[in-house]
């Protein structure tokens, strides 16, 4: 895909492309799954969604989420938990989905993503437990005390693609996303962390693909970890990531706020909130992760 297309304004992203005529988005191409048997899907973990060799956990979760969505009768993930077991590598993978229950308004499945080692051993990478619903079927009433994070306009935030070339070379996921960070939250990148342990910014796909509930599964794991703002650096391996999808997002980039409040015993939590252009809280995420050594 040409660089000019990547740099296109994600705010102009329109409806889901027509599967028969429009080219697949990078996200749809790289999370595609092919059913090979009942409850069993083949896929390929792409090499474009990594940072320093670690495949993004949100991307993997969305990929498994697609296989779950092809299995359950309800279209939208309502609450999805992924436990990350071993580090995946780009290449072929198998996803197995087991339906746990099909109810009238909710349905539940477990899923497992595995890869086969060079010696032929099948190794599980992540295990998922997901409950789906139809987000268009609920009542319209909203009662909320949650406040949309105060983030400068998309144009006034810092593109992640402005990172140093030596970082970008090993962080291809940055080119898949048109993520932008609140200038107040990027001090860590130049050695001046704020100490607040917060990341605020915008999430969008670089090729303008709209963010739907499936894509929301990765949003809480797609910006730099909030603990970088404490002056810590290095890999922050996710142990578990739970996402609640609360509404269908309106078009346009999404406001994301990540916060870590407690680092203890070598572990930390990271809470994510995702807001759409209509000012609705569309997803909440929480992960438990290993604290980086740095």
């Amino acid at each position: 895909m040409a660089e000019t297309t990547r740099a296109s304004d994600p705010g102009t992203g329109t409806a889901t492309p027509d599967a028969h005529t429009a080219p697949l988005s990078e996200f749809d191409r790289d999370t595609a799954v092919r059913r090979r048997a009942r409850g069993e899907f083949e896929t390929v973990i792409a090499d474009g969604w990594s940072v320093f060799g670690a495949v993004n956990g949100g991307y993997l979760k969305a990929m498994v989420g697609r296989a779950v969505a092809e299995t359950l009768p309800h279209p939208h993930p309502a609450t999805v938990t992924a436990h990350y077991l071993t580090a995946p590598r780009p290449g072929p993978a198998v996803i197995r989905v087991e339906t746990v229950r099909e109810g009238r308004t909710l349905s539940t499945a477990t899923a497992s993503l595995t890869q086969t080692d060079p010696d032929g051993t099948e190794v599980e990478r992540l295990r998922v437990l997901a409950t789906h619903t139809d987000l268009t079927a609920g009542p319209d009433e909203v009662r909320t005390t949650a406040e949309m994070p105060d983030i400068p306009a998309y144009e006034d935030c810092v593109g992640m693609d402005l990172a140093p070339p030596e970082f970008l070379r090993d962080a291809p996921i940055v080119h898949r996303l048109a993520g932008r960070l609140d200038p107040d939250c990027v001090g860590w990148a130049v050695g001046v962390p704020s100490g607040r342990a917060g990341t605020r910014g915008w999430f969008a796909f670089a090729d303008g693909r709209p963010v739907d509930p499936l894509a929301l599964l990765m949003v809480g794991d797609a910006l730099p970890p909030s603990v970088f703002d404490l002056g810590l650096s290095g890999w922050v391996p996710t142990i578990e990531l739970t996402t609640h999808v609360r509404a269908l997002p309106a078009p346009g980039p999404l406001r994301v706020a990540l916060t870590t409040r407690n680092l203890a015993g070598g572990l930390l939590e990271e809470d994510g909130e995702v807001w759409d252009s209509a000012g609705r809280l569309v997803a909440q995420s929480r992960q438990l992760a290993r604290a980086p050594r740095g």
Copy 2:
């Protein structure tokens, strides 16, 4: 158990009773599981942990957590997610545990609790995905911006057993717990909700049993739902409940703060924070639940 014992100060609870001499606590008795085959446990859902006929979801999660703890090599739940599928009833149940991965510092299992219908059909009640660790093995460093909730002293809070007799008759769980509520949070009980959607109070077992990581699995689901404070009432059925256990609790009652920030599409989230007497954040919980109709 005599009423005088129930009313004993839970702050005097000492170490875990010696299994050979001390009587089992109510919690240990009612969450006991018996292994009947590899990965398969028998248990009995007690009738003392219900509110208006609905068995408490936190109690069920702790019961399944006990079977998981008997299976995995690491002693303490680090992150446990339960999806509630169908409404259980007091009586026999079977828990099946499958080990997903055993690592050096973490291990993961799934578990399922089922009951058999009168017509002989086995029905699944909840599905659990759990990762365990050894909470004593991590580094001592704590970096936190989380602030302990400001709750009046245990003695100055309102015992849940002061509820009207017609409520207590159908809420036997109140007698298992020595829970107390911040007087500021109980206006809903007399028809004057604050509108803040918060519940703050103390959690302890009525018989003085210390709260350990297993018991923490129920803490985020053991006080009145925070949406009662919005003037809503009725059953708030949990769809999914995730608990992170962050530290071993010090002895004594625990401060609990529950908050709901967003009710939309007929669903709501409820976040729980649990603090011990040493001022440490020992657990964080989040649930997705159906909003009550009331």
